[in-house]
Amino acid sequence: FHLGVMPSVIRKRYNMTREDIGVLPNNSQACAQFLEQYFHQADLAVFMKLFGSGFAHRTEVDHVVGHQGQGRAGLEASLDVEYIMSTGANISTWVFSNAGRHESQEPFLAWLLLLSNMSALPWVHSVSYGDDEDSLSQAYLQRVNVEFMKAAARGLTVLFASGDDGAGCRRVPGGNHTFRPSFPASSPYVTTVGGTSFKNPFMVTAEVTDYISGGGFSNVFPMPDYQADAVRTFLRSAPKLPPSSYYNSSGRAYPDLAALSDNYWVVTNRLPLPWVSGTSASTPVVAGMLALINDRRLQRGQPPLGFLNPALYRLRERGHGGALFDVTQGCHLSCLDGTVQGQGFCAGPAWDAVTGWGTPNFPLLLRALTAP
């Protein structure tokens, strides 16, 4: 029984023990902020005091890149830092703070420039930010996608939240609706994290979809090879799919995996705040776990995970199907019209466009991703 998601609940659900903490000094993880979203070290200390018993953890962020304002703490920043440091426990943590120092700077672009300019970076990056794909120019989308390829070539694992609008919705010329994919979630070179809820909201139970969990198909980027089999199986076997006019079934499909995204506790401005939700919560949770897996890989002399998707989509065929809890119940939101009636895609066995491959079963995921 619990009164909301906190680190102990996450660690129990995903089978993380007190021994599952980072031990290497040269491993690190990061989250990036683009609003004037500042985290406060004091909030982290209060959070860990309230919720961090049961596992060794750090109470300070090691490195802030950019401007750390003195204003009120932001909910997003508090959430990201507190939860990446709860699953990626005892791992050195960085915050990229990109509020846009100059009035004409684009904060997201400023973050990409930092990645291109720093020779030593954390191996795992968690970003809870997205735009509608159709709100950005083709030139910008294609170039930013190449920036994620650059990060992948360097071995960085870049995670993006899948968004909180389900499949999304857009009215196209002629008055019809289509779903509205989100970017960077739709980039084929990032790992996109969707959201789930507990089946019983007050117990550590199996998970169902969180109906806000962003998911769908890019209208810009074609489906990458690594996911083609999984996505085609979903499209072939799903009992009910939205009409094909609502989405581009040959586009990059997302999310890739998921985690709990509902009913979190966050400490912000020194106050514990309940009922915080969104894929902003699930993304740092997964990021911290991947940073912990990097810790174990580095201990074994293996390279960091890097761009995860090619390995993630092969887990089942390599006999590691149990590494993720398959979420098979529930659907997410979409257009409120007479055709789809607010329903987008639905979860099902194996990969689906609401929760991807499902949520981490940490010990088995660790075993799968450290197997020779």
Partner: protein, 179 residues
């Protein structure tokens, strides 16, 4: 000239209010995304280092090795620098991979450099940004050397994807009403 981002909608997010033209002497900072070489090679490299079955799996590139793959051609660097210098733009800095240039210049220079651009100030509470509601063009001969110019149209992120449960309840009740 050629519009590099003709399809970029200009939409100030809710709450941003137009506060008028920016004075010609005011500085802006523009980010030029220079056309990269070797993107096809980069695609192959990413596949090789990320695919567990590949013999190259995990053999990641340093930032210097990455620079050697993606850095713009000498012709691109030459053409862009010559163009900037011809407008008196000298306060520029590059990145380790040499494929971005961040340049600071007065608004009057930026508007000559990128015909069509008109810099206005938008405010929201204590925050203020400078953006151009009008599309920009670059000289035809530069279009093959620049992917886009940042700092003109896109506003700071408004949508982090955190939501509170009460907001979700709102969506649910809207859904029920629609049903």
């Amino acid at each position: 000239g050629r519009a590099l981002e003709r399809d970029q909608p200009f939409r100030p997010p809710p709450g941003w209010v137009l506060a008028g033209r920016v004075s010609p002497e005011h500085d802006v900072q523009l980010t030029l995304a220079l056309r990269q070489r070797g993107t096809a090679r980069l695609t192959r490299l990413v596949r090789a280092v990320s695919e567990p079955r590949s013999p190259q799996y995990g053999k990641y590139l340093s930032v210097e090795q990455l620079r050697d793959v993606v850095q713009p051609s000498p012709a691109t660097l030459m053409a862009v620098l010559k163009w900037l210098q011809s407008h008196g733009v000298e306060d520029c800095r590059s990145v380790a991979t040499l494929d971005f240039l961040e340049c600071r210049m007065p608004v009057s220079t930026a508007e000559r450099l990128l015909p069509g651009a008109e810099f206005h100030r938008y405010v929201k509470g204590q925050r203020s940004v400078i953006r151009s509601p009008q599309p920009y063009v670059v000289p035809e001969e530069l279009a093959e050397h620049i992917d886009f110019v940042g700092g003109l149209h896109r506003f700071p992120a408004e949508r982090s994807v955190v939501s509170r449960a009460w907001a979700k309840e709102g969506m649910e009740s809207r859904g029920q009403r629609a049903a």
